[in-house]
Symmetry: C2
Subunit: 396 residues, 2 copies
């Protein structure tokens, strides 16, 4: 059994993200790990590590309990090994059009190594884009499945805005925010990456058949599950760590306080990735999770794709323009002239002395300011003195 077949077997043996199996594989390699499960005998060194890392305090009386636990784990792996058929799995996957990517392959995204023992054993990748290359400049955008029209609008804008600027969007292919952000990204040219909690040959949700086809033709579908795997709640949660690990940062758009998107946010933080959240109406439950992240200082508040890029991009390279209002011509007047302008009457003209009292400046200043203001078209001379030009009456 070679490395690839062993990894395909491991995908069947343990649930994704099983860090104990991850540790076993890291310590002796995938082939030996499968061998040890088959023989029902674990390496003594690994057993010692397991015992020491699960012991609380120094009490060795727990050891029997810990040994039982490890035996049960081994039994559960062995139960699954009996029904595993890696040759068939590999053939089926390739038949479906997907390719197996394992650590060491050119397409393996090395940033997944940050996951340590919960790194996936291998990935099924299905689509035209190169997974590793796509993820070099990528941002995860995640959020509620029960998104509001506001959320899906913003998600589509962010997807398109990031893609337009050459940033690949990584998301989970779900209803709501995920779907909207993939669609936004597909409207531009950069690949988009959908990380699934089921096999790449399973269309979940089934209404996303066309969306997944579009992602395959312009990006990739990715999964650490064997072909045919159905999604379950725990699989969604462990899948989220891949979304966070693949990208340089995670943006949350709409998440209620118990949304799965906050789980992805947590992974991003513990992986030292950037985390950002998009605010929304405080009257909307689906923005409450985002606001909590911002309030706690866990996430940066972002309002545009440019601000996301500023956060995850190279320092100094990708600065977002600061939001500004228009510069009004009156802002450029000097303070005294502005005071004179503010003191001018709208209808009936008045003499310079009255203006001087109203503006709180002396007569000489008023006379010079009135000249400047008339030249600039702000005021005009009328029979009884000076007044604002009716077309320049200042809105306040």
């Amino acid at each position: 059994m070679n490395d690839r077949l062993a990894r395909v077997t491991l995908m069947r043996l343990a649930e994704p993200g099983d860090a104990v199996m991850g540790r076993l594989v890291a310590s002796c390699g995938p082939e030996a790990a499968v061998g040890q499960v088959r023989e029902g005998r674990l390496d003594p060194e690994f057993t010692r590590w397991f015992a020491s890392s699960h012991r609380r305090g120094s009490a060795e009386s727990q050891d029997e309990q810990i040994t039982t636990r490890l035996k049960r784990m081994l039994a559960s792996w062995a139960t699954r090994l009996e029904s595993a058929d890696p040759d068939r799995d590999l053939a089926e996957g390739e038949e479906s059009g997907a390719r197996l990517v394992v650590p060491g392959d050119c397409e393996w995204p090395t940033q997944l190594n940050d996951l340590g023992d919960s790194r996936p054993h291998a990935l099924w990748v299905h689509g035209e884009a190169d997974l590793r290359f796509s993820c070099l400049r990528s941002v995860a955008v995640v959020g509620s499945r029960a998104a509001t029209p506001y959320g899906t609008h913003v998600a589509a804008e962010f997807g398109a805005g990031l893609s337009e600027r050459g940033w690949a969007v990584v998301s989970g292919g779900a209803y709501g925010i995920d779907g909207a952000v993939h669609r936004g990204a597909l409207a531009c040219q950069t690949p988009t990456v959908a990380v699934l909690a089921c096999g790449t040959d399973v269309t979940y949700p089934s209404a996303h058949q066309q969306l997944f086809a579009a992602v395959r033709s312009q990006g990739v579908l990715v999964s650490e599950c064997p072909m045919g795997t159905r999604p379950t709640r725990p699989r969604f949660l462990v899948r989220n760590r891949l979304i966070a690990a693949l990208s340089r940062g995670t943006v949350v758009i709409e998440a209620a306080v118990r949304s799965g998107a906050l789980n992805t946010a947590g992974h991003a933080v513990s992986l030292n990735r950037n985390l950002a959240a998009v605010p929304g109406p405080v009257t909307s439950e689906t923005s409450a999770g985002c606001h909590r992240l911002i309030r706690q200082g866990t996430a940066v508040c972002v309002t545009t794709p440019q601000e996301v890029i500023e956060l995850v991009g190279t320092i100094g390279d990708d600065l977002a323009p600061e939001s500004r209002g228009p510069i009004l011509p009156r802002d450029e007047l000097n303070p005294e002239t502005r005071r004179v302008l503010e003191a001018m009457p709208v209808r009936v003209g008045v003499g310079p002395a009255t203006v001087a009292v109203a503006a709180g400046v002396d007569l000489e200043t008023v006379l010079s300011c009135l000249g400047a203001l008339a030249a600039a078209g702000y005021v005009e001379r009328v029979p009884r003195g000076w007044r604002l030009r009716p077309d320049r009456s200042p809105g306040r």
Copy 2:
């Protein structure tokens, strides 16, 4: 001329917030300050202070220019002094129903001393409430005049929520956010304070006549301008420093990037008051100023009145409850039981061995978990094995 008459005179001489006049008054008292303006001769010590504080670098060649500037200032004060009539001002104010509050009075809000030289000379106060007492536990809530329905809704909620909890709301009595927050506060029992940029006898905007009447009967109208003063743009800006200084903190609800509310926010920061901003849709221009304050870390993101009180209240006394979702019963299952539950089929029953493979746990565990799950009403026995109870099918 006594202290009160002198202060009424000063309200006419200089524009509100004129720190040079403020310095003169601080150095020799209001009566002597008026006397010096009348005689056209400033105290030499004050003149030296003015020169030294306006000199850039050490060049003494600027002194002539600086002296000219001070002379012009003195001339403009003198021009206004000629038409000032403090006895009439005082009588008119009292006739209108307002009262003059000066430093040293019981009702003088001593926190205004934080303004230093730009502290107002005196305040006209009109209404049933006591200004000083009302402001002891107060929060300024400000925002755009061109507010959206979202903004006015949130402002009314915040006004009512703060008032309900015994916090006085300070605002500017303008259209939009200001009006909505005063109205919200009036619906509850705590006084509300409207700080105007015009005389307390001037109703600006005129559509707020009823609102101002309500504020007078349950709170106070406040102004540092003489009776009859019309609002001008610079007066709005200097008025904002009073709103910030009177309250323990400022909350911005909806502000475009050039909104006057951001000017109030700036005063709050430079006065070491708390600053908070309410987020809104990123698609709304009128929330862009709030988001910028949050992004820069200048303002804390707040979403409820409780969170505002937590910020401005006494530490440990006024904690806001953290937003939480409901706790689901399945969250309380242990991890193994949850895995078994997740692996259960929805329709056709299956045997425990199949469940063991799907869940990745051994047969013995499955059997004990199935018992517990059946007892809790999650699963049921059917002719061909076990399945989820149709009414407990997990939403994901």
